[in-house]
């Protein structure tokens, strides 16, 4: 059965206009209010399905009838003309099993929960040193550039074996790659430059291995140098942009809800508080793209083989039936004492974020330490949000203490 769309077709990606600066563009929850699967239009003019319901998003991301292979001719793309940038060897985030699983399994040992737990003292040291630098001899700072960005950047550089001195270069390239307003030409140049950087680096690691992830990838004979470089780009971009934006958005949001900050101080409630921040902020506002390989009945419509779908994590994570309930605030509000563990901020299915144990550890340590060491932390000027980025976040957050 196919129901005719009852609302106008939504052009993607929706813009941040009005609404709460911590929420997704209002058009997404508005679409969700009309049904779990609605019509939308991609920048190239193709129609696709906007999947906003919690159960439906889980289905799209875990059912093998939906493909993550970006080489599929109907794979939904959010930048006009970007199809010409797709190469024959995309990173494994954009591949299906078995090749996806083959490459992912080369990395799983690096992000084991116990491995990340063993890194906690090192992460704590990085966080403490960043705060020492931020507060030395001054009383104001930009939390984004002085804390939220350096911490995950230092951590991922350490793990991968990327020289931190290069961070200005790769941060500026990743910004361009994640900017929804970049032209195809800008995207192509940034993609080439960051790939070249990782190709050079992995070649050096192959010649002179060290104790880091890139050296171990470079030493493998079952991974081509190009695939190793693509994997390095994915880890580097995913490893610092996401966590950095979560740290700055979480801090700004908590400063608006100071009565909830004690939820971070208790080791018993800190992990749950971070899950709630992940749920409410769900920084991948634009959703996760997939293409249907077969006809699938989903949320009252038939998604036809060859149609694109966007799985909207942010609306799924606001489902009142899953995350609401008596005694808790509405799901578009912060409630650090809510059970948010079912959230989909890291995605779902076989592509679910590989680095999530690391992200959790970094967020727990960074936020707990920040508010413990600076109990008087408060805003000190106008904040700037990254509304132009595919990974939502903050450009600046002036603070004093």
């Amino acid at each position: 059965m196919t129901t005719a769309p009852t609302t106008p077709v939504l052009p993607l990606p929706a813009r941040h206009s009005g609404g709460c600066p911590f929420g997704p563009p209002p058009a997404y929850p508005e679409a969700a209010a009309t049904g779990p699967v609605t019509r939308a239009e991609l920048p190239d003019g193709d129609l696709c399905w906007l999947v906003t319901g919690f159960a439906e998003v889980r289905t799209v991301l875990s059912d093998r009838r939906f493909s993550a292979d970006i080489r599929h001719p109907a794979f939904p793309l959010l930048v006009a003309g970007a199809r010409e940038l797709i190469t024959d060897n995309p990173d494994f985030l954009r591949l299906d099993d078995p090749e996806h699983a083959r490459q992912r399994r080369m990395l799983t040992a690096e992000f084991l929960v116990k491995r990340v737990e063993a890194l906690r003292p090192e992460i704590q040291r990085i966080v403490d040193e960043a705060l020492d630098r931020m507060t030395a001899g001054r009383t104001t700072a930009d939390l984004v550039t002085d804390f939220a960005l350096p911490v995950p950047s230092l951590v991922i550089c350490l793990l991968l074996g990327v020289p931190y001195e290069d961070h200005d270069r790769f941060q500026s390239l990743s910004r361009t790659m994640l900017n929804r307003e970049s032209t195809v030409e800008q995207l192509r140049e940034a993609q080439e430059e960051v790939l070249d950087y990782l190709r050079d680096l992995t070649a050096r690691k192959r010649a002179q291995p060290e104790d880091d992830v890139l050296s171990r990838l470079a030493a493998r004979d079952d991974l081509t140098p190009d695939d190793a470089a693509a994997m390095g780009v994915l880890l580097l971009v995913a490893g610092h942009e996401t966590t950095a934006n979560m740290i700055s958005l979480s801090t700004a949001l908590l400063l608006e809800h100071p009565e909830q900050i004690p939820g971070l101080a208790d080791p018993a409630t800190l992990p749950g508080a971070v899950e709630e921040l992940l749920r409410l902020l769900t920084i991948v506002h634009t959703g996760l793209p997939r293409v249907a390989l077969e006809d699938v009945e989903l949320g009252g419509v038939t998604v036809r083989a060859g149609e694109g779908v966007m799985a909207m994590l942010s609306t799924a994570n606001r489902d009142e039936a899953v995350f609401g309930g008596a005694g808790h605030r509405a799901t578009d509000e912060l409630d650090l004492y809510r059970d948010a563990r079912r959230h989909l901020a890291f995605g779902f299915g076989v592509h679910q974020c590989l680095g999530q144990p690391l992200a959790r550890a970094e967020l727990q340590i960074a936020l707990e330490t920040l508010f413990r060491r600076l109990p008087g932390l408060r805003p000190a000027g106008e904040r700037g949000f990254r509304t132009e980025s595919f990974i939502y976040g903050m450009r600046s957050l002036p603070v004093t203490w």
Partner: protein, 72 residues
């Protein structure tokens, strides 16, 4: 209530270890899920149900459970 794991479906997200560390482990050799215990205690049932529900690879199966419980 019993729990079983399908290692072929495991994608090493670590969700099970995060939510029920007494019951699940990640194998040092291949990073795939491994049961630390096969007999569950009643006080572990909720965590194991959650781990099964949240497993992104649907690799964890719970059997012999009482009638379905829903919600948080």
């Amino acid at each position: 209530m019993q729990v079983s794991v399908d290692r072929d479906r495991c994608c090493s997200s670590g969700m099970c270890v995060t939510n029920a560390p007494e019951v699940f482990d990640q194998d040092d050799r291949d990073s795939l899920v491994r049961l630390r215990q096969t007999v569950l205690l009643p006080q572990q049932f909720d965590d194991v149900r959650l781990a099964s529900e949240l497993c992104p690879g649907r690799a964890i199966t719970v059997t012999g459970d009482e009638p379905a419980r829903t919600g948080a």
